[in-house]
């Protein structure tokens, strides 16, 4: 059972800040993915931030980290290399005023086709999150939805 294909991680109360290996995604390819983000924590004591980590897939398991796009409550344009299987990891980071943090991940894999546009609707509203990544036709209507998908890695011994 591949029930660990999707993981959510709760981070330690003593979450270490300032030690990050994240970097900005270069966004050097023509824009073909539009991300619309909505975040509402549902509590004044809770903050929610959303990020998109982008990886180039080398095979079904191994990936190369390319960079991170911070998502805000507007539309964000991202350029992803056409023809390259790309692992998209949407992450909601939840922080509590009185301590504690959590990371909720949603991953999928897309291989953008040349000349085709894609759209992602990302939301975290009052303890419920949803991510929809779709391929669009020429009129902007969704024609295909990418399902939630993790990497296919051998089980650790």
């Amino acid at each position: 059972m591949n029930f660990l294909a999707v993981r959510a991680c709760l981070v330690s109360v003593l979450f270490a800040s300032g030690c990050s290996t994240l970097r900005d995604y270069p966004n050097s390819f023509p824009s073909n993915l539009s991300v619309r983000t909505t975040t509402q924590s549902g509590s004044v004591f809770t903050g929610i931030r959303a990020y998109l980590h982008i990886y180039r897939m080398k095979d079904a398991c191994e990936v190369e980290y390319l960079g991170t796009v911070e998502l805000n409550d507007l539309a964000t344009s991202v350029g992803i290399e056409s023809g390259q299987p790309t692992y998209l990891k949407f992450v909601f980071k939840r922080t509590e005023t009185f301590g504690g943090a959590a990371l909720i991940e949603y991953t999928t894999v897309i291989t953008p086709r040349s000349g085709v546009r894609y759209a992602a609707d990302v939301s975290y509203v009052d303890r419920t999150y949803d991510v929809k990544v779709r391929e669009l036709d020429r009129n902007g209507a969704p024609v295909r939805e990418f399902r939630r998908q993790g990497r296919d890695c051998p089980a650790a011994r």
Partner: protein
């Protein structure tokens, strides 16, 4: 002598009760339903939705696979003593579909951090069982059984799915 034997017996009594209670945990969905119906400390809900059975069933199958095939990893580090403990809550959804009737079972298995679940089924304790049946071309009836008020997020999520009001996944890192 008799007093010492009585004290020893009484010391074993709480242990026996705990083991007895845990060993009686429902082993399958039907046992869970029976247990929830008969216990005064648990909950059941019954309601109808103005949605076709096919739509409700497909939603439950698709969303449960996307949202409940997860493992929540928790890490806690003490401030005074540099010890880090990691525990895992693994969820398992089981969808059973048929003509005019479908079921969704949500199990939770906890491990790590020195935790041992005694008497639980192999995939963890049943937390919520939901039954849906068609009662008309555009109407479905829902029966939901849940273990504890702590499962409110799961119940609210499933209710959102069957009503179509909230299609998203629950943040299972929150209790």
């Amino acid at each position: 002598m008799e007093g010492r034997m009585l004290r020893n017996s009484l010391g074993l009594l709480p242990i026996m009760l705990i083991v007895g209670g845990c060993a009686g945990a429902p082993k399958n969905a039907e046992d869970f339903r029976l247990a929830m119906r008969s216990s005064p400390f648990t909950r059941t809900e019954t309601f109808e939705v103005a949605r076709p059975f096919r739509i409700v069933s497909e939603t439950l199958q698709k969303r449960s696979d996307e949202c409940f095939n997860v493992a929540v990893h928790s890490t806690a580090t003490s401030v005074n003593i540099p010890i880090t403990r990691t525990s895992i809550r693994a969820y398992k959804p089981t969808f059973v579909g048929g003509a005019g009737k479908a079921e969704l079972h949500i199990q939770q298995k906890r491990s790590g951090g020195g935790m041992v679940e005694v008497g639980a089924p192999p995939d963890g304790y049943y937390r919520v069982v939901l039954d849906v049946v068609a009662i008309g071309p555009s109407r479905s009836k829902i029966d939901m059984y849940y273990m504890s008020p702590d499962d409110k997020y799961i119940r609210d999520t499933l209710r959102g799915w069957v009503t179509g009001e909230r299609p998203g996944c629950p943040d299972l890192t929150r209790r």
